[in-house]
């Protein structure tokens, strides 16, 4: 069970100028249940890439497979695929349009053939899952705070019960509390419901905290693809393509340069604290 891109290229126009390629020869397989972070500089092809995952864009070259079936072969149920692979674009709250929050979330499932009653049932669950209380269901989306609106929009995609959930910068413009809510929600969807999450982000911290696997895009190609600790060990190469590494990884590097030999692959506050304490305790015991 996977989405697989086989040598996918995408160019903006038919002139085969080198420059007009947004994606070049991408090989990528995302399996069911994974949590993948996609990072890259603006213009590196991240957004073009994710639009291939549910057939919103058709590759100029190469093929896209869903469960090993070519999604552009005749007879492939593309419409169904768009329910299975949900894509949440940047600032999804701008796409809320219905009179009430609940109506808005119902829009997706009803379009996929559910009755109003079924749709409501699914939508209520989706709203509760994203932390929107019953008392808000019948409010206008415009009465909600920015963070709530964003979560309501996310519920709209969850209500289509996707197996893969792709999110483009879902925390952009939110305050730290709003950001943590979204990231915790993604972790929960991944752990409890087994939904595969594909998180596109500028924040190395967010990716390091949530994803297991990181894909680095640069100039329309995949530069790295692997376990997050392995990928973030390439600090120098990442800097060259305009990216950074998570704060704690960079701190560890600086400490090691000064002879404080902490383990190099730390990514989170907890790990770094433990690693520093280990060293300081050893020192104390030796003294």
């Amino acid at each position: 069970m996977s989405i697989r891109l086989e040598n996918v290229s995408y160019k903006y126009d038919e002139n085969t100028k080198e420059k007009s390629y947004a994606l070049k020869n991408i090989k990528l397989e995302i399996k069911k249940g994974e949590f993948v972070g996609i990072v890259g500089h603006t213009g590196s092809g991240k957004s073009t890439l994710i639009q291939h995952l549910n057939g919103l864009l058709k590759p100029s070259g190469g093929k896209v497979f869903y469960n090993e079936r070519d999604i552009f072969e005749t007879g492939f149920p593309l419409r169904e695929l768009r329910g299975k692979v949900g894509v949440c674009f940047q600032y999804p709250e701008y796409q809320l349009f219905e009179v009430t929050v609940l109506d808005d979330v119902c829009f997706g499932p009803m379009n996929f053939g559910k009755t109003r009653q079924e749709a409501e049932e699914i939508s209520r669950r989706a709203l509760l899952d994203v932390g929107i209380e019953e008392s808000i269901f019948h409010k206008s989306p415009f009465e909600l705070s920015g963070g709530q609106r964003r979560r309501a929009a996310i519920a709209g995609i969850l209500a289509m019960e996707p197996e893969y959930f792709v999110l483009d910068e879902p925390t952009a413009g939110l305050d730290p509390a709003g950001r943590d809510q979204i990231l915790n929600l993604l972790k929960e969807l991944h752990e409890k419901k087994g939904i595969a999450i594909i998180l596109v982000s500028h924040s190395m911290e967010d990716v390091a905290a949530c994803a297991d696997r990181v894909v680095v895009m640069s100039h329309g190609k995949i530069l790295y693809d692997g376990d997050k600790r392995e990928v973030f060990s390439h600090e120098k190469e990442l800097k060259e393509v305009g990216l950074s590494v998570p704060f704690y990884r960079s701190l560890a590097g600086d400490l090691r340069e000064r002879g404080f030999m902490i383990r190099e692959d730390v990514l989170t506050l907890e790990e770094t604290k433990d690693a520093i304490m280990d060293i300081l305790r050893k020192k104390r015991n030796n003294a």
Binding site: A177, G178, G242, L251
Partner: protein, 282 residues
């Protein structure tokens, strides 16, 4: 005389609802502070803490329900002085797409001085200078909608610089930008502050941005919860977390290590300071 003087500012509004009772909300609840010319102030707070409402009071986009706001001694409630206040204190908003009015970059930047009724040569002098100030001269004949978010924000700042202001208020100017665009806007803001002595008030959530400021004002539920230098503010890790704010990662790690009994010095807020301090122990 301080450039900004905010005295017991209160801003109330009503929310109306079909079912519930009308509710009075105090977006700003008795806030007083003053700002000297040339200061760089970061305003920090959760969503809904009143920081944007505060920013909008400074150039009279919102008017006080009670209390007063003085810009260079002028009262924002005085309609006759409002144009002069807005020339002295300009505001840049979060979304770069919402604040561009011209079809060509230089026309957009000219909008302010045109409205001030300046003579044509003076308008073009100001536009040329403002575009230079923000490093966008090469784009003066470009169409704004072909620019990146960071470039649009620089154009928005140029539009204000063309009015030759003394103070610029920025309401989360980098929230919608990518890391590179953010870097460009921030170094520009810092440069305008240091080289042209422009007073800066910047609303932000980003710790790295707060660290650029000389002074941080923390808002909570419409009130000022803390006011001090970044070092003073960020050493209060527990308090900030309680308010629901982020702490710079170096400060947070230092705090956690102190809790484990490591006697690190106070007021560590940057990575370099933390590295320096930890190296004392090996």
């Amino acid at each position: 005389m301080p450039i900004l003087n905010i005295k017991n500012l209160i801003h109330k509004y009503m929310t109306y609802d079909d079912s519930e009772k009308n509710q009075e909300i105090r977006a700003i609840d008795d806030v007083s502070f003053s700002v000297e010319k040339g200061e760089f102030i970061a305003i920090l707070g959760r969503n809904g803490s009143g920081k944007s409402s505060l920013a909008k009071h400074i150039n009279g986009l919102l008017l006080p329900t009670e209390g007063a706001v003085y810009v260079k001694g002028m009262d924002t409630r005085n309609q006759e002085e409002i144009l002069q206040i807005r020339q002295s204190a300009g505001i840049v908003f979060q979304n770069p797409d919402n604040q561009i009015v011209g079809a060509v970059v230089d026309e957009d930047v000219a909008f302010g001085p045109e409205n001030m009724g300046r003579p044509t040569e003076d308008i073009w002098r100001r536009v040329t200078k403002a575009l230079e100030d923000v490093g966008m001269t090469a784009y003066k004949e470009a169409s704004p909608n072909r620019l990146s978010g960071g470039q649009k924000q620089r154009i928005a700042i140029a539009g204000i610089m063309a009015m030759e202001p003394e103070c610029i208020i920025l309401d989360e100017p980098t929230a919608m930008l990518d890391p590179q665009g953010r870097q460009h806007v921030l170094s520009l803001v810092k440069e305008l502050n240091q080289e042209k002595n422009i007073t800066i008030l910047m609303v932000t959530h980003h710790m790295e941005e707060v660290l650029l400021a000389d002074r941080v004002i923390v808002m909570q539920e419409g009130k000022i919860a803390a006011d001090g230098t970044p070092k003073e503010i960020f050493s209060q890790v527990e308090k900030l977390k309680k308010i629901g704010l982020e702490v710079p990662p170096a400060a947070e790690l230092a705090y956690e290590l102190r809790k484990e009994g490591i006697p690190l010095k106070d007021q560590i807020i940057t990575k370099e300071e933390l590295v320096e301090e930890l190296c004392r122990f090996v």
